[in-house]
Amino acid sequence: MSNRSLRAAIPALVWLAIFLLLPVVVLLTAQVEASDISRVLTRQSTWRIAWFSLWQALASVIATFALALPLTWFIGRHQFRGRGVVRAFASVGFFLPSVVVAAGFIALLPTRLHVSLAAMIAAHAYFNIAVVLRVIAPRLETFDIGLLAAARTLGAGALRTFTSVAWPAMRTAVVSAAGVVFIYCFTSYAVVRTLGGVTRNTIESDIAVRAYAIGDLGGAVVLSLVQVVVIATVVLLGRALARDAATAPRRTTLTLTAAAGVRAIVGAVIIVATLTVVAAPLIALAISSLQVGDTWSFAGWRSLIDNGAVAATPESAPAAATSAFALVDSLVTSGRTAVLAAIVALVLATGLARTVVRLGTRGRWLDAVSMVPLIVSPVTLGLGLVVTFDSGWYDWRGTWWFVAVVHSVVGLPLAVRVLVPVWRNVAPSLRDAAAVLGATPRQRFIDIDLRLLRPALVAAAGLVAAVSLGEFGAASMLSRSGAETLPVMIARLLGRTGDLVRTQAFVLATVLVVACVSALLLVESGARNHSHPRDNTHA
């Protein structure tokens, strides 16, 4: 492997070493003693929390599948007008910040359910509709329905046909989707903190409680390790269960049928029901942003721009309402954090992806390294950063840009995942063609690679920005008072009493929905405009 090939990846590797590896190592070496391990692992509450984390995640997986499978089946097997729009809209929840979804459920549900297990699991299911839809539907789309008929003609009953033909073809996708949903729900933080209340703690939320409320850093780190072990076990289990490469469909063409008759009616009911579920919390959020208590009012929105107007309302006692400046500050903080995180992640991901593509199969290890930020939970990462960069010239905990640094680490794997497949598709012969026309390596990179990657770069930037706008775990650890990001501010407002503060939370959540959907439209337009570099064949 040449040093030149690796050079472009060095900034990203250094970045990950400083802001991911170092904090984790510091956490493990400086904060944990042997006594912490025995103390945490022998305590009954630890196992109670672990058990709750496990079963609420399993219940969330079941709820997610119950909610998403009907639509997944209909979209995966049928062709109909507006199919793409339905799929995009049904996926919206996944891209919304978890704290916004939590706020949406508070706005939607009756007061007695605001803090409840049902709300928690419903929010988890809401998020993960997209995972089931996006992972399982493509497999359904290419499933050859003729195989079922073949099995029936050979004497197999309905159950036998399912277990011997349909299930083997679908197993990988189902297991993958279930695994991903489980991990998301197992490590969920904002939803648990907002909708679970103080009595329901998962390992993830307990890590935060130990680190910040109790000051038990050693205990928090041990719990982080327990969490990593569970996640690794789920990943390995998933890989073992999904080992069915031989049963992958041979055909890759779509085998969709037109929905007609009763199926069309059933499909319409499924679509309307699912999309209603998806839209309901968002509509409730927007409506609640226009209400203070039971009264219709623009006070929440006015407080974004005019502190005086808020002060004029009876609910705006100084202790209850948050000043306009704090709200606007959090908007600005979130905006600039997202922009900086997107820029940094994009620059680093471009170098890393370039090397991964150049190295080909020899670059698999680098591809795997770029995915490492995904297995460290943001809360753990935030914790590591807090204890690592805590003194002297590198005490960056109070700076606004430090949150952007963390978000660039969290967003890096996603940006790499967007760029690498597109880059692999850029035909090397186009660079050759440019070379023989006199282009220097730099000109080739700019004129060929970057030009062809432009839509993917836009998509990657939008994705990182959306992640940054919604990220809660690390931001809640690192945001200093007065410069909170939007999700942190929303969670704080939801945690306080008073009608106006709650309305303000809904206002900010509505703003965040708009910001995230805008970022996602950017991503979608990037994907749609993506020219196919190899498709330079001619009519």
Partner: protein, 211 residues
């Protein structure tokens, strides 16, 4: 004059071109024939500087260019599958060599229009690459290569994939253009008729190898 001396090229561990010699005089057009996979394209890519040479020399007008980067050799290539840049329009493709030299857009456009006229594609400047037919794409690829004023042009199966009438028409146009420009050309093709129609002389690829 292009002089390839005792050239050996590997792809990985495999020797694809073993001890090849080829001499092409100024203004001469030489066709190299051979079956698919014999190493014709590899030889062209090595001459163009797109592949590293294992041993041997490539001389252009007496100067050793074996180690010279592809972008500084002054050798043009018309690729088998054209390799037009899909993200540029026709004019920007044709004038790409001027773009990399920093020539202003207006001058590039004038140059592109001029070359498009010469290859019979006047008015195509703003067309997208994906809107071109096979024959039109070949002409754009040729114009792009010639617009760079290369000292030698390498043609890799230039007429493959075209239907018979397009093939014959383009063959005639190519010959007229090369006659007019006195271009030094190395053409590799499996089609002997094509070679005979375009080149001053033809040789088997195997005849280029010393052993």
């Amino acid at each position: 004059m292009l002089d390839v001396v005792d050239l050996t090229v590997r792809r990985g561990a495999q020797v694809v071109v073993r001890r090849a010699d080829l001499l092409v005089k100024h203004g001469e057009r030489v066709a190299v024939h051979g079956p698919s996979g014999c190493g014709k394209t590899t030889l062209l890519h090595a001459i163009a500087g797109l592949l590293a040479v294992d041993t041997g020399q490539i001389l252009l007008d007496g100067v050793d260019i074996t180690a010279t980067a592809a972008n500084r050799r002054g050798i043009g290539v018309v690729f088998q599958d054209d390799q037009l840049f899909p993200h540029f329009d026709v004019a920007e493709n044709v004038a790409y060599s001027l773009r990399v030299q920093g020539v202003a857009r207006r001058e590039r456009r004038r140059h592109a229009d001029d070359w498009l006229e010469r290859v019979g594609l006047g008015g195509f400047a703003q067309r997208t690459i994906n809107s071109l037919s096979g024959g039109e794409a070949k002409r754009v690829a040729l114009a792009r290569t010639l617009a760079a004023s290369p000292r030698v042009v390498l043609l890799d199966e230039p007429l493959t994939g075209l239907d018979a009438s397009l093939h014959d028409r383009l063959l005639i146009d190519l010959r007229l253009l090369f006659d007019q420009l006195q271009t030094t050309v190395v053409l590799v093709t499996h089609d002997r008729d094509e070679g005979a129609a375009l080149a001053h002389r033809a040789t088997e690829f195997s005849a280029l190898l010393r052993e």
